[in-house]
């Protein structure tokens, strides 16, 4: 054996180890570590499209403004969380910025932007973890959970911290604000009810599984899925459990509720319709791909009461339209990329946010599933 090799192989192996470990699980370019989201208000759609915060015309898909304006010169990190739109001329986004080069650090930022032109009004950089699902607006506050385990209540005017609430694990779920109470789930397996004014704990509902999404309120009951394969109905006033439905896998997304029926999807793509009164199963449907394979689903369903449909965005990028009566799949439209957040419905269109694909936002006809527009438009050959 070559002498030089015998002496150098430990160094070569050490370098190889560093290289492989450093590159395992990483990808070049823009690589997502979470999902993007969108909100439709009136004739406008606001989207966190990974690279930018974007305001668009909901009907045509035309961009009205972006933040930052010039992506090449002025990166503000990766925009993930679903934007919150206020009635006070502000729209709230969150991004994650990697800084520092050699010893890089991740910085998470909440942005308050002018709803008309996307101008920055203020930013909040005080959280140590990642923003995932987005925040909620209530009173004078913007409330958002963070991966550092805290819930932050920020003044809508200037972004100053009004109060914080510490949980024992990451808070990735969007809070639900009803009147003077904030309801927020944490990965510490607890759903908290907090006073909107000062963040004081009103009640806590603890189970065996983490709570990853926003609860849904209907008729005095909160409905929420958990990682212990269950959907829970909780009294909004007291935090007492009304019923629990035991499924077969994690429920990560928010349930949808309409006319006494709770709709929930687990991460293996089982869609359930449950009686809101007692949690009894009405029907369930297993979503499958064109190859008849199970389709993982992260997000909850979105209800279109006007058309009697339930929309589910799946990991494989497909958007499924189910009949709420029996779960029959009326249509499904594939897409490149991953659909990991809840679709939005407004009027005749259903909007889907995608990551890791060519199109980042697309709009489809809510009745027939025909694509109305996609952003960015695919380049023609």
């Amino acid at each position: 054996m070559n002498q030089a090799w015998i002496k150098r192989w430990p160094v070569v192996l050490a370098m190889l180890a560093a290289l492989v470990l450093a590159t395992s699980g990483c990808a070049g370019g823009v690589s997502a570590s979470s999902w993007t989201g969108l909100t439709v208000v009136g004739d406008r759609l606001y989207a966190a499209d990974l690279q930018q915060a974007r305001a668009m015309d909901a009907e045509s898909g035309e961009t009205i403004w972006t933040f930052p304006r010039n992506l090449e010169e002025d990166s503000r990190g990766l925009f993930y969380a679903t934007p919150a739109v206020g009635d006070d001329g502000r729209v709230f986004f969150a991004s994650q910025l990697t800084t520092g080069g050699f010893l890089s650090q991740r910085e998470s930022i909440v942005w308050a932007l002018d709803i008309e032109d996307g101008r920055e009004l203020w930013r909040f950089e005080g959280a140590a973890g990642m923003y995932v699902e987005g925040g909620a607006l209530g009173g004078d506050l913007f409330v958002i959970g963070n991966g550092d385990g805290h819930v932050y209540a920020l003044d809508r005017e200037d972004g100053s911290v009004s109060w914080t609430f510490e949980t024992e694990h990451r808070v990735w779920a969007t809070p639900l604000i009803v009147e003077d109470t904030v309801y927020v789930g944490s990965m510490d397996r607890t759903l908290y009810a907090l006073d909107l004014d000062d963040g004081e704990l009103q009640w806590a509902f603890s189970k065996d599984g983490a709570f990853g999404a926003q609860p849904t309120l209907a008729d005095g009951t909160l409905y929420i899925g958990a990682f212990d394969d269950a959907v829970y109905a909780v009294d909004v006033e007291t935090g007492d459990e009304r019923w629990a439905f035991q499924g077969e896998d994690w429920f990560w997304g928010s349930p949808a509720v309409s006319e006494g029926v709770v709709y929930a999807v687990d991460v293996k793509g089982r869609v359930y319709a449950l009686d809101a009164e007692d949690g009894e199963e009405i029907w369930h449907k297993f979503l499958v791909s064109d190859q008849n394979q199970p389709v993982p689903v992260r997000a909850g369903p979105t209800l279109d009461s006007d058309n009697g449909r339930l929309f589910v965005s799946a990991q494989n990028g497909s958007l499924y339209a189910l009949d709420i009566a029996d779960g029959f799949v009326d249509w499904s439209v594939p897409a490149e990329g991953r659909g990991l957040s809840e679709p939005a419905v407004d009027g005749s269109l259903v909007y889907q946010s995608l990551v890791l694909g060519t199109a980042r936002v697309r709009a489809l006809d809510a009745v027939e599933g025909r694509e109305a527009w996609a952003f960015p438009q695919p380049e023609e050959d």
Binding site: P10, L13, A14, A17, G25, L103, K207, V267, R298
Partner: protein
């Protein structure tokens, strides 16, 4: 590529977490020890090989003095010496190559169980099978992610400044282990030889590399490195104690064929 090792490791980590008091650090430590025990035959052969090489160092130096001008002859004589002593100079290579994917798989298992990003957790959600056999383990993920105020799923950060102690500990334990396993330079008398220089470089390069990796990646990985290094040192002392009755290097040298 390594999914067939990563997901079993991650499920094993969940099992250990469930039965070791829901302490993530204890579970990582236990999994590290289990894996080190599993690959013990490989690391034992690596360490024995290194130790034999160390014992043969004086003989190598003698050969170097004698055949220093004729590199080809020197190489031939060295190979002859190693062959007689039953040492493969590249004997430590294979165990390291096998350990490398295991190390990567363990790291990936840790970040699946203590994820810092939701996509990591969502990816893992489709690969948890331990709760099908033990339903009581349903809902375990994500594991408790804090240890002494540090987030085990995040890399060290200025916000948790004390988390930088872990890369320092990784460096220190790696250096100690490397020093134990490297051939002694004092006995040779020729401090400038290439082998010694390489050995000295390795003593500092490897710990620096692992320290750097620990700075960049989840602190849970640092726990693995530290426990693994401590295990390696304990293993070294065990081998040394048990080799007292083995052949002395002089006896090996005497076996060399006379010209």
């Amino acid at each position: 590529m390594l999914d067939f090792i990563i997901y079993p490791f991650a499920n094993l980590l969940l099992l250990l977490y469930a039965y070791l008091g829901h302490q993530t650090v204890v579970a990582i430590a236990a999994l590290t020890i289990l894996i080190r025990l599993l690959i013990l035959p490989l690391t034992l052969s690596q360490q024995k090989s290194a130790q034999k090489m160390q014992e043969l160092q004086p003989e190598i130096e003698k050969l170097r003095e004698k055949y220093g001008d004729d590199q080809e002859k020197l190489a031939q004589k060295q190979m002859e010496l190693w062959r007689k002593a039953g040492v493969n100079p590249a004997g430590g290579c294979l165990p390291l190559i096998i350990q490398l994917p295991i190390m990567i798989a363990l790291y990936r298992a840790i970040i699946f169980c203590v994820p810092s990003t939701p996509l990591q957790l969502f990816q893992f959600s489709g690969h948890i099978f331990i709760d099908e056999w033990l339903p009581s383990l349903t809902g375990l993920v994500p594991l408790q992610s804090t240890f002494l105020g540090m987030d085990l799923g995040q890399s060290p950060s200025p916000v948790q400044w004390w988390s930088y102690s872990l890369p320092i500990l990784v460096f220190a334990t790696s250096w100690l282990q490397q020093k134990l396993l490297s051939p002694s330079t004092a006995s040779t008398g020729d401090g400038g030889s290439q082998a010694e220089m390489m050995s000295q470089q390795m003593q500092i390069m490897m710990p620096l590399m692992f320290g750097f990796i620990s700075l960049q990646y989840a602190t849970g990985l640092s726990i693995y490195f530290i426990i693994s290094n401590l295990f390696g040192m304990a293993q070294y002392y065990f081998i040394r104690t048990n080799r007292e009755g083995d052949e002395e290097p002089e006896a090996i040298a005497k076996k060399r064929p006379k010209k």
